[in-house]
């Protein structure tokens, strides 16, 4: 068990290196292959009226003439020990963990990401609880009342939920509930949990529901399919043959087995979400990681995009690891060795 975890941790670390190398290549090698010169890249970091000599000096100082491998090595080193960015007009310090330095906002990337994280975490935590509870309950009821009006209605709504993107449902919900009826907080509202828990929940309820609608729909369908499968298993018949009450047959024997795939998907979904709920954050103007990413992409701010990508990858890798460990807890047939 311990060796398994250690091995998986090493694997996770290797995975992050691969992700960083690939991301780095996309941002620094691919443009070069497409004909972008180091001078072109340095052009971003100097003023509008810079002379060619100025640009070359900056490119020289930022190491843009160095081989890509050396540049990547410098980036990795920065993650562990921090780094300095000398762009000619001055030297910017970027302490470890330095995921890059944005010359657009003149700030290191990491502190920004840390600032944004609570918003995204709040969004992910609330939404995931809601969609898990609603999705699984609706899925179970649908499976048990198969072909009933409830089942058909729920599955139609679920189809809508899976099909409608949050930038649509979110905006419709905002205009109806916040600006029309005024019962929920307007877009862009966010109160930290530490300041006022009630306000925190109030400000986030609409984004939670929007995001939960999307995923609850998927979970309802998944749970329904899983329950239908499980309730036809031989061990369910055995449980009934023992004289077990039907509620226990469903809850203890049926749901337990049907939930295994749900646990897997749930872990990964939360991991992906913590890396930024891009569409929902944009729809509600929440200043989370997803919004940070879209802003950075719009501004062509490579270090930010790179830093965000790395953080998102980190969460997904961690989520994967947790799911794998959890799997062994849920299903005793899985042996971690």
């Amino acid at each position: 068990m311990v060796t398994y975890i250690i091995r998986r941790l090493i694997g996770a670390l290797a995975m992050l290196f691969v992700v960083s190398a690939v991301t780095f290549s996309i941002f620094f090698v691919v443009p070069r292959l497409a004909g972008v010169t180091p001078d072109d890249m340095a052009n971003r970091y100097v003023g509008r009226a810079a002379t060619a000599a100025n640009v070359q000096a900056t490119a020289q100082k930022l190491g843009l003439y160095d081989p890509v491998v050396v540049q990547y090595g410098r980036w990795v080193k920065g993650v562990f020990v921090g780094s300095e960015y000398d762009y000619g007009a001055g030297v910017e310090h970027c302490p470890a963990p330095c995921l890059g330095y944005s010359f657009v906002t003149k700030q290191p990337v990491w502190p920004d990401l840390v600032d944004r994280l609570p918003v995204t975490l709040s969004l992910a935590a609330g939404a995931s609880v809601i969609w898990l509870v609603i999705g699984v309950s609706v899925g179970v009821l649908s499976a048990l009342k198969r072909r009933s009006i409830f089942d058909r209605g729920a599955m139609i709504i679920a189809l809508a939920g899976v099909s409608l993107p949050p930038f649509f449902t979110g905006l419709v919900a905002l205009s109806l509930l916040s600006y029309g009826l005024g019962i929920t907080a307007p877009g862009g509202a966010y109160v930290p949990l530490s300041e006022n828990p009630a306000q925190w929940a109030y400000s986030l309820i609409l984004p939670w529901l929007t995001l939960a609608f999307l995923n609850a729909a998927a979970y309802a369908r998944l749970t329904r399919a899983g329950m239908l499968d499980t309730m036809g298993e031989d061990y369910i018949r055995t449980a009934r043959a023992k004289g077990l009450k039907e509620s226990k047959v469903i809850g203890k024997h049926g749901l337990r087995a049907a939930l295994t795939p749900i646990v897997t998907i749930f872990g990964l979904d939360v991991g992906i979400l913590v890396g930024g709920a891009i569409l929902t954050e944009n729809a509600f103007s929440l200043q989370g990681l997803g919004k940070y990413a879209t802003t950075a992409i719009a501004a062509n701010d490579l270090p930010k995009i790179m830093g965000f990508t790395m953080l998102a990858a980190f969460f997904i890798v961690v989520a994967n690891l947790i799911v794998d460990l959890l799997y062994a807890v849920v299903d005793p047939r899985v042996r971690l060795s």
Binding site: D234, Y235, A239, A241, K242, G243, L244, D331, P332
Partner: protein
């Protein structure tokens, strides 16, 4: 009063393709301490009958009629909740494939403890002790350790033993074993059959063994019921069925049973064709399309459903041939082939 009595039990399932007559007018009796073997091909209605006795079709789509009397109580008309309270306690079941019939996420012990505690208001500790006792009784070595194992950690034979321990945990008076040895190795089959015989004697339960394997029923049964197309086509003591069978289908079953005690001079005698559809049951005798003796019935085979008639001392046969014809065919045409 008879301990278990079925009167004209019918279990039909409406489907999009038509009505499936899985069990179509089945009657039999069984006393405590006795064993009834129900034999038939896949789809003859054997398993549906056993699940019907346990009331596991209640609340589903099945249409059930007739009577099931268990120790003075009628179960077809009883409330589902009442039948549930009898399940596991008064009547219990052993299933075919113990790997899929046990929940993979719970330990063997937990599953026996659960079965025991449904019907006995005892602490987990007491129930666990009982589970260990039961596991020991069905011949599982080191039961105090194996009680915490998961089903997948058991071998096939051990799992079936555990399944039997679970079924017997509440001391049921009726035990139904649905193909209890089909999923097991041949060497283990004999052990399980021995175990079931011993336990039945200890518990004095009525035992129904459902199987397609005549060898299994020969080993255990007092009486044998042969099913075909949802109906009983021959019923009698084990001697009746093995020494004086009168139904062509039973002859076919005996002919297709490999035997090691005779020389391999001839091939097995398989029954031609395949089991009937339970939606479009053949007219007349359901077996007539596969019956070699149908021409001798003078056309009755394909038009009239034969009645189940007593031929001699509790030996019932459903066949258009006369008793004399059947005995003659058995003595001159079938028996010599089986013994050659």
């Amino acid at each position: 009063m008879t301990f278990l009595q079925l009167n004209d039990l019918k279990i039909h399932f409406p489907t999009d393709d038509g009505l499936v007559r899985s069990v179509d007018g089945l009657s039999f009796q069984l006393e405590r301490g006795k064993t009834l073997g129900i034999v038939g091909e896949s789809g003859s209605g054997k398993s549906v009958t056993s699940l019907g006795i346990l009331g596991l079709h209640k609340g589903g789509r099945a249409k059930i009629s007739g009577e099931i009397w268990l120790d003075g109580e009628e179960l077809v008309s009883a409330s589902p909740e009442h039948v549930r309270s009898l399940r596991g306690k008064k009547m219990a079941m052993i299933f075919q494939d113990p790997l899929s019939a046990m929940h993979p996420y719970y330990t063997v012990g937990d599953q026996i403890i659960e079965a025991y505690r449904i019907h006995n208001n005892v602490s987990k500790k007491v129930a666990k002790k009982h589970a260990i006792d039961m596991l020991g009784r069905v011949g599982i070595p080191q039961p105090d350790r194996r009680v915490d194992s998961y089903p997948h950690e058991f071998s096939g034979g051990m799992r079936q033993r555990a399944m039997i321990a679970m079924a017997l945990s509440c001391d049921p008076e009726l035990l139904i074993a649905d193909e209890p040895t089909t999923a097991l190795d041949v060497t283990v089959q004999a052990q399980i059959l021995d175990l079931m015989r011993d336990l039945q004697r200890d518990f004095n339960a009525a035992l129904i063994i459902i199987t397609h394997d005549l060898g299994v029923v020969a080993e255990l049964s007092d009486d044998i019921l042969v099913m075909y197309g949802g109906k009983c086509i021959e019923y009698g003591s084990a001697d009746d069925i093995f020494e004086r069978p009168e139904h062509p289908y039973t002859w076919g079953l005996l002919g297709s049973m490999p035997r090691l005690d005779r020389e391999v001079t001839e091939r097995l005698l398989p029954i031609k064709g395949s089991p009937p559809s339970l939606i479009n049951v053949p007219s007349g005798c359901a077996f007539h399309p596969r019956c070699a003796f149908e021409p001798r019935t003078g056309g009755k085979g394909s038009t009239l459903v034969p009645d189940l008639v007593e031929t001699e001392g509790g030996h019932l046969v459903r066949c258009h041939l006369s008793r004399e014809e059947r005995r003659d065919i058995w003595a001159t045409e079938i028996k010599p082939k089986l013994e050659s």
